[in-house]
Symmetry: C2
Subunit: 329 residues, 2 copies
């Protein structure tokens, strides 16, 4: 952890005051750091000016995502542990979408001075638990007081000798495939925004996305020509691939099974579940394109085709449902 | 730039609306990205799920620092370009203090919706210009709307085959040495906080620290046993080294010349300039310890000695001036 964190030092009354100010900057850093695991790639963890992480490939993949309270999460919808899982997942999925294996996270945490220390500890637990799924850890970070609770995470990863899989490599004739759940988190978000707490499957999917991390490097080994982490919504993100690659993408609606709980929730709320599947984000599914000759083993499943042209269609037609995912609008 | 940035999309009236909301998320990202240089280590820059940066050493050094408006900077004291310089410097200095050469920055920027786009562009200019001093660039990042203007920067660096220089390696008998200006930024901060805008030398030092980046890897090659970036204040940061190394440090007051403008400002404000030199932070000087046999070429200059024991003294006595640097208190 950098020492230049700007969190105010304690007033010596830490036993009675569970706020981050009462606990003091260095004590808070110690408390949070004590809960972290650093992962096998970590050569030097928190406590010095910087961390040192193994980069055996000779290149490092790096991505940053920031979550702001009130825009990307609400403390009444998600626990601190949930927010930690989601903040880590958003970044780890970006690394996987390059075909790389995540190695480490760094976290910049901005906390209101009256935040309970337990919240920061829960966040650390969630970050560490999500990173541990891929053998990575939290190797460093910074903390500051701020009026706005903010979690900025940087993820690092290793390409294992492979070329990164870009958004720009899709070619006409390629198969479009998906790995991981899709629409669940958006459905959970809608459920929560309507004031419900169930179905648990959907609400939990919003709180803690289940990302098919190993599918990223696996796709690279299978010969994926393009890949992206679905965070804006499937059609919006395939649109990024189509634009970067100079191609068109068509998705087959019948490639998506609507799970029963999602169908029930959609009916109860009077919405089209395909809006969640095709337009919802935050599951961090991986979408990739493969040459047609590639046999696609699970978790990859074909959902469409790449062709000449531009834009994204569903069963050959423009999609008129919600196309993207805007947080808290 | 990640697409999951949560900045609201534009309303199509970008010609008349210079706020970040009016310009829209993707347009703002494009505007800012267009101003960046990526640096020679950047193998893949913004625009995909993650960046790819060369890590020829097989290890990557990584550090994160966050700057929050009202705590670490004020828009009436520093321009956007200044804040960019300072945010980059704080991180690049952490990399140099490990004995590494900075290779890349990633930036998470949280902006109030009414922020003028020119401010974000100025920030990008400052970040890029500071990074360019060491041949590095801004390779990726994220943006979100937020009530609180926040800049979180992650810096990456390469060790060039050397061991990282930790805080924990100082040994009794070592010489304590310093590279870079000290006390200037703290003096500039005091001047600004008293409502003055001059002397320019001091105010500018606060706005844009001049960091002796190459002195970090140079110290590693010279055989430095410990090193730290001075950001909390010289005595406070030498205290981190003393504690991590299990030694004591004594600093010679006569090792520091008080520059004329600092002496004049101290006299005019009725303060002790050694409070700035020994207790002030934000110049990002590098402090290191060297075995006594090492000849110290510039910019390194001896300022004290390591001995058995614990704690930090000045001319053998406890220092009773301000010992650390708390932002905006």
């Amino acid at each position: 952890m950098s020492e230049q964190s700007g969190v105010e030092r304690g007033n010596g009354d830490a036993d009675n005051d569970r706020s981050v100010v009462g606990s003091g900057e260095f004590q808070l850093i110690d408390r949070v750091t004590a809960r972290l695991s650093y992962g096998s790639a970590c050569l030097l963890g928190p406590g010095d000016d910087a961390a040192v992480v193994a980069a055996p490939d000779g290149r490092v993949v790096a991505s940053t995502d920031v979550l702001v309270e009130g825009r990307h999460f609400r403390r009444d919808w998600s626990s601190a542990v949930d927010v930690g899982h989601r903040a880590a997942a958003a970044n780890l999925a970006d690394i996987a979408a390059m075909g790389a294996s995540p190695t480490a996270l760094l976290v910049a945490l901005c906390v209101p001075p009256d935040l309970d220390v337990a919240w920061a500890e829960g966040l650390a637990d969630g970050l560490a638990a999500e990173a541990a799924k891929v053998g990575a850890g939290v190797v460093g970070g910074d903390m500051s007081a701020s009026p706005t609770l903010t979690v900025a995470v940087t993820a690092l990863g290793d390409l294992g000798g492979r070329a990164p899989v870009l958004r720009s490599g899709a070619r006409p004739g390629d198969v479009v495939a998906l790995a991981g759940r899709i629409g669940y988190a958006a459905a959970g978000y809608t459920v929560l925004s309507r004031g419900f707490r169930t179905p648990k499957l959907l609400v939990e999917a919003y709180r803690r996305p289940e990302v098919a991390y190993p599918a990223g490097p696996y796709a690279a080994r299978l010969g994926a020509t393009a890949m992206i982490d679905v965070s804006d919504g499937l059609l919006a993100d395939l649109g990024h691939v189509a634009r970067a690659s100079g191609v068109s993408v068509d998705v087959r609606r019948d490639a998506f099974e609507v799970p029963r709980q999602m169908a029930d929730a959609a009916q109860a709320l009077g919405v089209d579940p395909y809006g969640w599947i095709l337009g919802g984000g935050d599951d961090h599914a991986l979408a990739a394109t493969f040459p047609p000759a590639v046999a696609l083993p699970p978790p990859w499943r074909a959902i469409g085709r790449v062709a000449e042209g531009a834009g994204v269609t569903v069963d050959g037609q423009p999609w008129d449902g919600p196309a993207g995912w805007d947080h808290f609008r």
